[in-house]
Subunit: 406 residues, 2 copies
């Protein structure tokens, strides 16, 4: 048992709260017992049974649930720093792809890299994420795009999940783009995904989600429908990259197929918003991708005001969002999407937990939740998201145990 | 003597180069002798006389001149995190000021804080800046706004300049806003600045620059002219906060009075750009202020293309730019102002040095320059500004001596 006392502000982030209410408590305390939050509340209400518990003094700092990055492309070969200059000179994401850069170059580098190289690279990034207070990460395949290399990515996630403290949630994104060797026969690639990869992933328990990128240049809604039907038959849950670069009915498709989450949605239209209301699908906002691409941002205010839950994630990947800095994404959600600090925090905790179907276990610090806890060097949530520093995270507990940060 | 070898990419940033050319050299080396860069160039050209010098292996990393943050409000009491939510809800900078928040609340907190409290707070921030690779910082008064407290801020800068490794450049910003006790008699406040403070600052060598905030709600161009004439007579050089929130002819005023730099310029118009061309005045872009205020950005492309030097700085202050993360400001200059990585780096090195009249001594790594040197954990400049991490700075040398980072 451990008592965290002298918490300046505690954000409990209960999933049943509306997004604007992160359950903030001033002068709070929290008790951890066997990896679970046993009690949390105002310090003045601490039950006498806990008063003699070994105490950690939080020195008046902010305490939040471990952050959840619910959309990343964690494992990839190479980087694409030199495309940065091209994009700044005005080349579009699609134009860069057309000249052999973009996702295709990462696919090439990922195929060429060994599992060992990729594992070490992803492990280093997870260490950096953890040091920022991120304790759970969703991670997608989608840079292999053939049987061997899609499985290689998903196997790496399984290995890493067992090897280090950050909990990983794997998503199969074979339908990221049509790989170069199948551009003349898209059907054959879909057949490979549906007839070979999805059954194999199901058999070996290699992923929990199936995702697809529905966009001009990637996959059509009809192709995604076919893929998702197969995935659902094999027990995979659905995510969807939708309406990122154009309004293509992606949000409606997500609601129609019962997706757990719909991601990007920068170009969602009124029909899309209406489709998401009450659908149970979480909208995942990826402000770093908007910043890096110079594109519009998901209209978070309209979605939240309409009652749609909005998660905030990094989209970490080597092309359109080459940063894993989730607190920066949260700050951008405030400054460029008019989310309040409480909405942004809910977006990276309980709403993100919902986007990976874990909202009954993580993302909140109410009693009964897994004790994934972060102490932030700031007196309040407002102060933290306003005074941007390289890294304000001071201490991290995962399943109740303090993690040594590197 | 010390040899830095195995530099993956060296940015020499010569001030005579056009802004888009940061003088990049792949596979470079650099020799430090008595605090000065004795030689820099391709490692294959290293003169034999230096071959036996004690060598530091830069492991293929990027090496840049120590960064220069040429516009900060370093010393202040309190913070204003709770205004962040107000601003996100739509209140303007001017509206917050009108209800007693904004600069006025920082003035109150700065007056109430002791010199010792303020010194310790600013010293901690300088440590964090140094850890990011910032080796020179311009810092303004302007939160005292009376004789005692303006001098208190400037004295703190003098003490800190002597106490720690970051070189400070002090600017007197008594003309930040008209303080509450003088709102009915602006003339009397200007008289205080001109007749009492400027002579005292000159006598005690407390500042190198005189700055003024020319804007609705602050000072008129006519008031600033009067102030600057007095300042120049007393040997102070001129800086100017201009055209931040509206187009008020600030850039033209800066050129007219021979300002070393004109800052903000988000609303600069064509006449203003024309006035700056060839004037010798550096335009200082403050992208974090634009981000935090949700305001437009300085049109860096138009200025650079017209031949105006553009520096990039943080504007660190507790209201409109509560972050000292200069590399983040540089990334925003790329992403939101279409500056190239080389232009952004020149903006935070040689162009920033020009904005504080030190371009013959710092901001470049050509032979003869002060050895303020930063090793960045990235293989290239493009990679560094593209892959945003909390802090990629690994080692810092100030005047040739390695600094212990905390």
């Amino acid at each position: 048992m451990r008592l965290l006392r002298n918490i300046g502000e505690l954000a409990t982030c209960p999933p049943e709260n509306p997004q604007h209410d992160a359950g903030l408590i001033r002068k709070a305390a929290l008790v951890i017992e066997e990896g679970i939050v046993a009690w949390s509340g105002p310090e003045s209400d601490l039950p006498t049974e806990f008063e003699k518990t070994d105490a950690t003094d939080c020195q008046g700092n902010l305490v939040i649930p471990g952050l959840i990055d619910c959309h990343t492309h964690l494992c990839f070969g190479g980087w694409r720093g030199d495309e940065f200059e091209m994009r700044l000179a005005g080349a579009s994401y699609q134009e860069i792809a057309a000249v052999g850069g973009g996702i295709a170059s990462t696919v090439k580098a990922t195929r060429e890299a060994s599992a060992d190289q990729l594992t070490r690279k992803a492990a280093r990034i997870l260490q950096h994420m953890l040091a920022l207070g991120v304790t759970t990460v969703e991670c997608k395949s989608g840079y292999g795009l053939d049987e061997e290399n899609e499985l290689k990515q998903l196997e790496i996630y399984r290995v890493l999940d067992a090897q280090q403290p950050v909990e990983l949630v794997s998503t199969f994104l074979g339908a990221h783009i049509v790989p170069p060797e199948y551009t003349e026969d898209r059907e054959a690639y879909l057949d490979l995904l549906i007839d070979v990869l999805i059954p194999r992933i199901n058999r070996d328990g290699l992923a929990e989600y199936c995702d697809a990128f529905v966009e001009a240049g990637a996959f059509t809604a009809e192709e995604a429908r076919r893929l998702f039907e197969a995935a659902k038959r094999q027990g995979l849950k659905i995510k969807l990259h939708a309406d990122q670069l154009s309004s293509g009915g992606g949000a409606s498709l997500a609601a129609e197929v019962g997706a757990v989450s719909a991601e990007h949605l920068e170009y969602i239209d009124e029909d899309g918003i209406s489709a998401l209301v009450g659908s149970g699908t979480v909208a995942v906002s990826l402000p770093l991708a908007s910043l890096y691409l110079g594109e519009r941002y998901l209209p978070a205010r309209r979605l939240i005001d309409a009652g749609v839950p909005v998660a905030v994630a990094t989209d970490f990947n080597p092309g359109s969002a080459p940063s894993f800095h989730l607190p920066l994404a949260m700050m951008l959600a405030c400054l460029n999407q008019q989310m309040t600090p409480q909405e942004a925090l809910m977006g990276a905790t309980s709403r993100a937990a919902r986007a990976i179907d874990r909202e009954q276990r993580i993302g909140s610090l109410h009693a009964g939740y897994q004790a994934d806890i972060v102490i932030i060097d700031a007196p309040s949530l407002n102060h933290w998201l306003y005074h941007f520093t390289p890294n304000a995270c001071r201490r991290v507990f995962k399943n109740g145990a303090e993690v040594v940060l590197t």
